[in-house]
Symmetry: C2
């Protein structure tokens, strides 16, 4: 049976720019966002190669999700995360392209 449950996240109207910017202003989280930007259909968190432990990774993913930057839903034992590009582009047009234009 393929379960697919979405994790709690703020509605578009609830997203606050301060939280978004603070979420993006951390190197590991910015790296996650850059990776997700190349994966329109999302990616399993575990497949993200970061220089941190699983628990730290979970922490950062939670921050991003609660800020409204990413969306995460469960598929079996996996958690698929994806950028909330439409919401962010709507609220802050240009922000995401600008961030992603930055040299790595």
């Amino acid at each position: 049976m393929s379960t697919s449950k979405a994790l709690p996240q703020p509605d578009r109207e609830e997203i606050r720019i301060e939280q978004v910017l603070q979420a993006l202003g951390e190197p590991v989280r910015l790296q996650i966002v850059r990776l997700l930007a190349d994966q329109p259909d999302g990616i399993a968190c575990g497949e993200i190669d970061l220089q941190v432990t699983p628990s730290t990774r979970a922490h950062h993913l939670r921050i991003l999700r609660e800020a409204g930057v990413i969306s995460t839903h469960t598929e079996g034992t996996r958690r698929i995360s994806s950028l909330r590009r439409e919401d962010l582009d709507n609220l802050y047009p240009g922000l995401l392209p600008g961030v992603l234009a930055a040299p790595r």
Copy 2:
């Protein structure tokens, strides 16, 4: 005699997106940026009405300057700060408009 000395700030190539985002992700600093966005010619720091003491305000202005978000030069006893809009738009096109589009 009208002295006018620019305070040290990173060159455009030295600006790093992580620092910019972190600088913007603090409520007081974001408020400063929003005020400066309406003042193309800059504004004296002291004229900014914030709910913090002068020393805290100086601290935030330094963070913004060192991140490359604002530029500050001395005019007499006053320090005039302004947004580095051209540099930011060049490095991260869309970022600033996106941030400023956010509802207060």
